[in-house]
Amino acid sequence: MNEGMEQLEQLYRETGPALLAFFRHQPALAGAAEDLLQDTFVRALQHRERLDGAVSRRAYLFGIARHVGLDALRRRKPLDELVEPPAAPATREDARLESMRAAITELPGPQRETLMLKLQHELSYEEIAEVLAIPVGTVRSRLHHAVLQLRQIMTGSNHDEN
């Protein structure tokens, strides 16, 4: 029992920061990020055998975190919307980064989610497929369309990447 807890604590130390960032990046969940992180590990414990058998524990935890986040959004009371989004980085950034952020928010939800998992959390295609419970081909296709759309917005032209 103690060994199991130690393993979970080790996982918490390793993946906690990334999972916390995952929650904090979503404005609606940012305020409760720490609680949601704990909920993620409680749920992981409830399905311990799946966690132990997962090809990538990190991807499995991201998958749980995603579901915990979705459940929290479903239960969310109207007042919770007043929670402040994460503070913008203090450094002054150039306009291109701002444009890119705006372009990313314009992406369809599934594409944006896939792109974030790849770029922010450095998950592999297979790990993203596990997190989102979709085929690897769909991950590639979503990323392809997302990047094409971003490039189109940023350059203002229509490039054919094929």
Partner: protein
């Protein structure tokens, strides 16, 4: 797609090498690859996170509580299943006990269709069937025959059955 995979760092080394070789020969494709890489790089910068460690440690006490609750739930579930099996066995055994030796017509009447004609006359005792395949009488006789190496007198065929997962073979008595 390959260009995207390359920019995302998802290509196997040998494929990446081949693609590099191709890009050196085709400037247009190389420009496209560079454009994609630049877009991805910019997106990476724009979405860069500064991961910070959680302020609270893992709530081990809460996890232990959950673990204990799960163990109790599992134990309760196992007990419930065993109790259900025991009750079912008792009910079936009791039913068998009270129906033993009862006239068939009397058994059929209460729940059965009263319009159907009774196959056995009211009050008639039905002997244990010897014709049922699984009847104890038949099984006992088969066992005796197997031990004695003989078969029922007068019967021309005998059943040869080695395993319950194989089809029984009918053999002629020589």
């Amino acid at each position: 797609m390959l260009l995207l995979d390359q920019a995302m760092g998802e290509l196997r080394p040998e494929v990446a090498e081949l693609l590099e070789a191709h890009l050196t020969r085709t400037p247009k494709a190389a420009r496209q690859a560079a454009g994609l890489a630049a877009t991805i790089q910019l997106a990476r910068q724009a979405t860069a996170l500064t991961p910070e460690a959680p302020r609270r440690p893992l709530a081990v006490a809460r996890l232990r509580k959950v673990q204990t609750a799960m163990r109790w739930r599992t134990a309760a579930w196992e007990l419930t299943r065993m109790a259900a099996c025991a009750v079912l066995g008792l009910i079936l055994g009791w039913q068998g006990h009270i129906n033993r030796g009862r006239p068939v017509a009397a058994m059929a009447r209460p729940g059965g269709n009263p319009d159907l004609p009774a196959m056995v006359a009211e009050g008639e005792q039905v002997p244990e069937s010897r014709t049922d395949f699984w009847s104890l009488a038949n099984l006992g006789e088969a066992q005796r025959e197997r031990q004695s190496g003989s078969s029922r007198p007068g019967s021309r065929y005998r059943l040869h059955w080695d395993s319950p997962v194989k089809m029984p073979q009918v053999e002629e008595n020589l």
